[in-house]
Symmetry: C2
Subunit: 338 residues, 2 copies
Amino acid sequence: MKTKLRSWDRNTKPEDEQMELSEIYRPIQEDLVRVKDALRSINRVDFSWLSEQLSYVITASGKGIRPALTLLSGKFYKYDLDLLVPMAVSVELMHTATLVHDDAIDKSEVRRGQPTINKLWGDETAILLGDFLFAKAGMFVADTKNPYVIKLFSQTLATISSGEINQFRSAYQTAQNREQYIKRIAAKTASLFCLSTESGAVLSGAPEIAAKALKDYSYNMGVAFQIVDDLLDFVGTEEMLGKPVGSDLEQGTLTLPAMMLLEKYPKNNPVTDVFEKKDMTSIPRAIEMVRNSTIIEECYRLAQEYSAKAKNCLKVLPDVASRTSLKELADYVIRRQV
Amino acid sequence: MKTKLRSWDRNTKPEDEQMELSEIYRPIQEDLVRVKDALRSINRVDFSWLSEQLSYVITASGKGIRPALTLLSGKFYKYDLDLLVPMAVSVELMHTATLVHDDAIDKSEVRRGQPTINKLWGDETAILLGDFLFAKAGMFVADTKNPYVIKLFSQTLATISSGEINQFRSAYQTAQNREQYIKRIAAKTASLFCLSTESGAVLSGAPEIAAKALKDYSYNMGVAFQIVDDLLDFVGTEEMLGKPVGSDLEQGTLTLPAMMLLEKYPKNNPVTDVFEKKDMTSIPRAIEMVRNSTIIEECYRLAQEYSAKAKNCLKVLPDVASRTSLKELADYVIRRQV
C-alpha cells in the first residue's frame, strides 16, 4: 500500500505515462485521431499570425483526457461520432481556452515545458485568443444541435469562470477550510470533466440514470485528479511538471497540501510567511516540509477515496470495454506524475 | 445639409438623445423592460462580490441598441417573446463581455464616465468576469433552442475576437488602407449588429430574404455607427464620450479620421509622431487638425452612405412600425453624440 501511495517517487518517464494512457484509450483510439484532426483544423483562418498562435496552443495540448471522456462515455449506447467528435473537440477547446486565460491571470511563463501565450505574445493576445477558442468551442458544441448539452456547455463555463474568480479573490488567504477547497476544485476542474462525460452520455441516448452515473463519476474523478495535481506541485520536479515547482504557493492558491501543513504547524509556518508576508523565499521550506511529512500519504488517501467513489459510480453501466477504460482512468489519475 | 453633417457641434444633451432613442424604441418599449429585468437578474449568484461586479457592469450598460435590434427585427413576423427576450439578453451580454475584455486589453480606465472593471478590480477580474458574461450570454442563446442562431452566436464571437486580434496586431501601424479599416470595423462592431437582427428575424420565422435584408441592414448600419464612433473620438468632448478624447490614437488604433489626416498631410503628420515615435504629446495637434479640416464632413458623408444603404435594405420588409424604427435608428447613429 505504501509504495503505491508514494507512487510519485517511482520516477516514471512521461513516455511511459503516455503509453499507459494509449492503452486506456484503446476502445476509442481511432476516433481520437478524428478529434485531433478537427482540433488541428481550427488554425485555418484568414490571418496567418492567428493561424500560427492557434497551431501553437493546439500542438502543445495535453493528455486529451476530456475528449477521451466524451468518446468513452458515448460508447455505452448509440455511438454516434457525428455528434461525439464535435462534442469532444468542444470540451478540449474549452479546456485550452481556460488554460490560456489562466496563464495570463497567473502571469505563468511556462506550461507543459513551453512558453505560455502571454509570455510569447502578451496578455492582450492571450485574452483575445482565449475568447476565440471559446467561440470555436461554442461552434463545435452547436454542431451537436442538442439544446441540453449546448446549455450545459455554457453553464460549465459559468461554473469554471466564477470558480476561478473565487480562487483569485481568496488568493493569499490562509483561513480556508477543506470544504471550500473541494468546492473550488470541483468548480475549476471537475465541472469540465462532468460536461465531458455527461454530454457523451446524452448524445449517445443514454438513459438518465446512466448519464447521472457518468456525471457523478467525473465529479469524483475530477476532484481526485485535482488533488493529485495540487500535490504534484509540491512533490514533482520542474521537468515532470513542465512548470516551476511551488507555483500554487507563489500565486497564493491555498491547495490541500498547504492547508494540511497549516493545520499541522499552526505557528511559524512557511505558508503563512508566503501568504501573509509575501516572503517567497519560504516556498522551498514549505515544499521540503510537505515532502518530509505524512501529507503526501494523506493527500493520496483522499484522492483514492474519490477515485474509488468514481469507479463505484460505473457499476450501473453496461459492462463494455469503455467501462474498463473509465475505471482504469480513475486509477491512472492517481498514479500519474504529469 | 452642412448643419446636419456637422451635427456633432449641436451640443445636444445625453438626456435628449436618450429621449430620441426611447421614441425609436416605442414599438418594443415594454418588451425592452423584460430584457433589462433579465439582464439585472444575472447578478443572482453564490458569491456576493461577483454579484456586486455583475450589478456594476449591467447597471453601467449603454443605449441598448443591440437588444432593441433583436426585438425590432422580430416584429415583422411571429413576435415570440419567449425566444426573442433571451436572444436580446444574449446579444447585450456578449457586447458587455467584449467591452470588459477590450478595456483590460486597452488599459482603459474610464467607460461611460465610470471606472472600468480592470481599473476597479484589476485585469484578472476583468478577464474572468468577461468569461462569465460570455458564459451567461451562451446560456441565454441556448434557451432559444435554435441551432442556427446558436451557431451564429459563436461564429460572431469568433469574428469579433479575431477582428480584435487583428486590430491589436496592426496597432501603431500607419500603412493601412480604407478597405482594411472597413473590414476591421465590420468585424468588431457590425458583426454583432448582424447577429442581433438576423437572430430576431430567424426566431420570428422570417423568410430567408427578410432575414438577409435585416442582416445587410445591420452590416451597413454597424459600419456607419463605428465610423461616427471613431469620429467622435476626435470631435467629441470627454464629458460626451465618457472617456478621454483621442483614446484611439493613444492605443494606436488607426481609425478613418486619422487615416484621412495621413492622406492629406503625408509629411510632418502628428499621427505619424504618435504611432512611429510614440510621441503622445502630438495627440492634441492631431485632434485639432482633424477638427479644422474637411475630414469631419468626409467621415459623415461616408457614414451617411452606409446609413442610406442600411435603410435601403429595409424596403423588402413589411411596412410595420418597427421598420420605421429601424429606419430612424439608421439616422440616429449618424446624429448621435454619445
